[in-house]
């Protein structure tokens, strides 16, 4: 009986020591989180490009899916599994003054450092080619319409834009910075767009010289390539996490 008591006491002591020691190396658990994502347009309709003032009258944009990564690079080769994601594709009016819902972010609490995403055209490992989501405007990532003005010159244009992943298994935007520390579901993700900025690299002087009204920008053209530069490099999406408003 006495030996049994000693054993029990010893067990408790050893277990206590073990618990304290292990507590130092067990990383804090991550909490499953889910919160809203919205698209927010900023100075959406106007921008300038080489002296041209660009004004958009229409910007229907497919956004998603989004994959958020704890690593500094969101590339599929460096971020095999995301910490959070917006799995769906949503077409938004990027000129709308009010935030547009993008669905729910599902994932885990913790630090986010990067994101990779598509504009409605994805090329998953299971697909043999890049594939548009069924909901895309006219089958394209986006439809832009507007005009550009420089002095007495006026150019009106339409643009059907496809933002396509370069290789199978990658996203169209393979990595971008997105910094956050998400602690709970009381969070909101804002995806900030500045669509008029996507036309900054477009050569409107060349478009004006064609005399075509309206000038139609289609995939494969130089102007389409210039819009991709705007989307990926000159006016990329920004990602902001804020505390969710109280219900």
């Amino acid at each position: 009986m006495k030996h049994h008591v000693v054993l029990v006491r010893s067990f408790v002591v050893v277990a206590g020591v073990l618990a304290v020691a292990l507590a130092g190396c067990v990383e804090a658990s991550q909490e499953a989180v889910a919160y809203d994502a919205v698209a927010v347009s900023r100075d959406a309709a106007k921008d300038t490009s080489s002296g041209w003032i660009v004004t958009l009258s229409r910007a229907d944009v497919a956004l998603g899916p989004f994959y958020f990564c704890a690593a500094a690079s969101g590339s599929s080769t460096l971020c095999a599994s995301s910490i959070a994601e917006v799995a769906g594709v949503t077409v938004v009016n990027a000129l709308a003054p009010a935030p547009s819902p993008l669905g729910r972010v599902h994932g885990f609490s913790g630090n986010v450092q990067s994101v990779s995403y598509d504009f409605g055209i994805s090329w998953f490992d299971t697909q043999t080619a890049a594939t548009p989501a069924p909901s895309l405007p006219g089958g394209h990532s986006m439809r832009l319409e507007g005009e550009a003005r420089k002095g007495a010159m006026l150019v009106s244009f339409t643009a059907d834009v496809d933002v396509v992943p370069q290789y199978q298994g990658q996203n169209a935007l393979s990595t971008a910075s997105a910094i956050a520390s998400v602690e709970s579901s009381a969070t909101r993700l804002e995806v900030v767009l500045h669509p008029a900025g996507w036309l900054r690299q477009v050569d409107f002087d060349a478009i004006a010289a064609t005399g075509k009204v309206p000038f139609a920008i289609r995939p494969g053209s130089a102007e389409h390539g210039a819009i991709l530069v705007g989307i990926k490099n000159l006016s990329p999406l920004e990602f902001r996490w804020t505390a969710a408003a109280a219900p």
Partner: protein
Amino acid sequence: MMNRRSEGAALVLMTLVSFTAVAACGSKDGGSSTGGNGNVQIFVVPEDTIANGLQPGTELENVQDGWTISYSRYLVAVGNFRARRSDTGDSIGDPSIHVLDLKAAPTSGYVVKELTNVAAVRWDKFGYDIANAKAGATPLAPTTQADADFMIQNGYSVYYEGAGVKAGKTITFKWGFAAGTSFDDCASPDGVPGFAVPAGGTVQVKPTLHGDHQYFDNITQGVEITKRLAQWLETCDKDANAELTIEELKKCDVVTALPQPPYDLTAVKDQDGDGKISVFDYVNTQMRTFGDYQGDGECPTRASQ
């Protein structure tokens, strides 16, 4: 009912389990700790593409659109080698910056630093800088003091001279970039982070500098899933004098020189701040990615300086 002998055995067993568990917890080096000390020899190794150029062809490492690329001079400013243990926070390193002539590198590369009497464990965080050269950067033979002075005076992190040749047409180039970048979290090609020092032995650590990123069709992240293309050399030579200058690169629109597809320009930055993305911005951005590790291993955490 448990007898005294079995009680004692159980106690010993519990204690052993406890020590084993705690020991495993404390060791984040994957059990590679060997005790004792060893040495670290840091080499800077140029990729074969710097010494022997790139060949046209259809193989993975070939230039796919028929161009042959060769370099006659290739200078870099590299150093600030650093290593850290995640488990203890201990760190070792050397802040020196060296100017190296990679075209004239010794066969096995430059031995830039030897660290002795280092704990024989895994140092899982390794990084280094390709730095904008400043006063104090020193050449290692056969690199000359004139090479170092040239890099310092211009503040270059990398400078190279060479040529592209296709179908009898030759385009020469002499380009320097102040594209200082830190490269961290380096891992071997099979993904093992940092390096392990053997007790009583020496580990060779090899930052490897690549000479083909200028010709990639994207800004690679991690594994190099890319094709090599060089037609932009001719596209950007607007005056058709067969010498492609930095000024021509700055005036060369990526829309025509690097069309998407086949290119993907994600992560290319407006490095010269002119509000447009030019081929200069593309090459400059690539000059912030060419630091690799142990051959084709990656240093995925990069930051411009």
